[in-house]
């Protein structure tokens, strides 16, 4: 068994430097690598390019890095929940690349799987396709999109073992599996780190080969963005 465990978040993030490109898993605030983000705030790393579906809210998730102006470029599909983000973007302080959500996921997975590029119909005929190669297949138009290149991927799983095998829970899975192995170094944080041999190999979502470092997150706030409930009859 090849051990991937590191003792804490500080060691998990060793090697993170200014001006790097980072991938961060999560959808909204669901399944975000809370501990890695907290450590990035502490490290005060700047000039970061962050690839993440959303940009957090003003005071949580990637919003914490935006507040401290640590991010110079965001690559996302939807950023509507963050006022500070919108302010920095409209004022030109923050460079933003908005791309379709499926394209974002596939650009991660292409990096993971060694595909340099792929064709997708998403964005054809829109400003997203401007300057990009297009091609017709079977009478339909497609846009060429390229795999991401990133230095670190920070993902969050529910359970993981010493070998870096990961299991996700609910919709907290989202972009996390797609980003594993899609950067030079993948750092997984988990709610529960278990000894090798504990997880049923049949139930593993992401094999440890895609993960270089794994650690147990110290605490998880798991903030709910839109608490919606129904009345009991």
């Amino acid at each position: 068994m090849i051990r991937k465990t590191v003792p804490n978040v500080t060691e998990a993030l060793s090697g993170v430097k200014d001006n790097m490109t980072l991938m961060l898993g999560g959808f909204g605030l669901c399944g975000i690598p809370e501990n890695a983000i907290a450590e990035l705030v502490k490290l005060n790393t700047t000039g970061l390019t962050c690839i993440s579906n959303n940009a957090g809210v003003d005071d949580f998730g990637l919003g914490l890095l935006l507040q401290k102006k640590q991010i110079t470029k965001m690559v996302s599909s939807y950023v509507g929940e963050n006022d500070e983000f919108e302010r920095q973007m409209l004022s030109g302080e923050l460079d933003v690349e908005l791309i379709p959500q499926g394209t974002l996921a596939e650009r991660c997975r292409a990096a993971q799987g060694g595909f340099p590029a792929f064709y997708t119909p998403a964005g054809y005929g829109t400003e997203v396709a401007e300057g990009k190669e297009t091609r017709e297949f079977n009478g339909k138009m497609y846009v060429l999109e390229h795999a991401f290149k990133a230095d670190f991927a920070f993902v969050k799983a529910w359970k993981g073992d010493e070998a870096g095998n990961l299991i996700f829970k609910g919709t907290a899975r989202n972009f996390n599996p797609c980003m594993c192995g899609a950067a030079k170094i993948t750092v997984a944080e988990v709610e529960e780190l278990v000894p090798a041999g504990t997880l049923d190999p049949d139930q593993v979502h992401i094999p440890g080969i895609f993960v270089q470092r794994i650690f147990q997150g110290e605490r998880y706030e798991k903030r709910i963005e839109q608490r919606t409930v129904r009345k009991r009859e």
Binding site: L29, G31, E81, P100, P177, Q226
Partner: protein, 218 residues
């Protein structure tokens, strides 16, 4: 004239047994409240769940189980969770039968604009571009006119496009329309709305053939 729930109710009549359906944020979400009796449909949410159920009871919210609108939800028997790439394989691969989404503008060619107002609102397209580029059947749910009273059914969209030649039907507070090669074909009027009302509120080419029935609700 229909309110938002009325629009959702009319769209729900388009659901067919065995459909996998993706609902956008806003009015489309309400469609789930009006599934016709006797049919089975499953709702897909592009953040990674198929078989989405109603909101949880108070105290049973799970931060790990949300929909694409970031709302806490539940799941139905037979539900599944999956990653974002798999989710968009369902969409791009046309495994999802029907997409219902909101729009700021729709053109008579079936173009849709719903993600950006330059210099004003820049929230991003989320999954909308993937959905409209791939779905075989797209229904738009929206008000017929904007807050300033201007038509949202246009010859050409003025806002940045989300997708081209993709919308099949539009249900508004005034009417049900089908996008045809010649423009917006009026199929049904909302209760109490005349053909002239609809004509006055539609900038794009409106096709009116014969008597236009009023929508019927059970």
């Amino acid at each position: 004239m229909l309110d938002k729930n009325g629009i959702a109710k009319r769209i729900a009549k388009e659901l067919q047994d065995g459909y996998f359906v993706n609902l956008g944020i806003g009015i489309p979400t309400l469609v789930a409240n009006y599934i016709p009796e006797g049919i089975e449909v499953e709702f897909q949410s592009e953040n990674g769940v198929l078989g989405m159920g109603p909101f949880p009871f108070q105290g049973e919210e799970d931060p790990d189980i949300i929909n694409a609108g970031k709302q806490t939800i539940t799941t139905m028997p037979g539900a599944s969770f999956f990653d974002s790439a798999t989710s968009f394989n369902m969409i791009r691969g046309q495994h999802v039968d029907l997409t219902i989404l909101g729009a700021m503008e729709v053109s008579e060619d079936g173009d849709i604009a719903n993600w950006k107002i330059p210099g004003k609102m820049v929230k991003g397209m989320g999954g909308a571009m993937d959905l409209v580029a791939s779905a075989e059947n797209i229904i738009v749910a929206m008000m017929h006119t904007n807050k300033a009273g201007a038509s949202k059914l246009l010859k050409n969209c003025s806002l940045p496009l989300t997708g081209v030649n993709c919308v099949k039907k539009v249900v508004t507070n005034l009417a049900l329309l089908e996008i045809t090669e010649k423009g917006f074909k009026l199929l049904e009027r909302a209760p109490g709305v005349s053909v002239d009302d609809i004509r006055n509120a539609t900038e794009g080419n409106l096709i009116v053939e014969g008597d236009i029935p009023e929508m019927k609700f059970d």
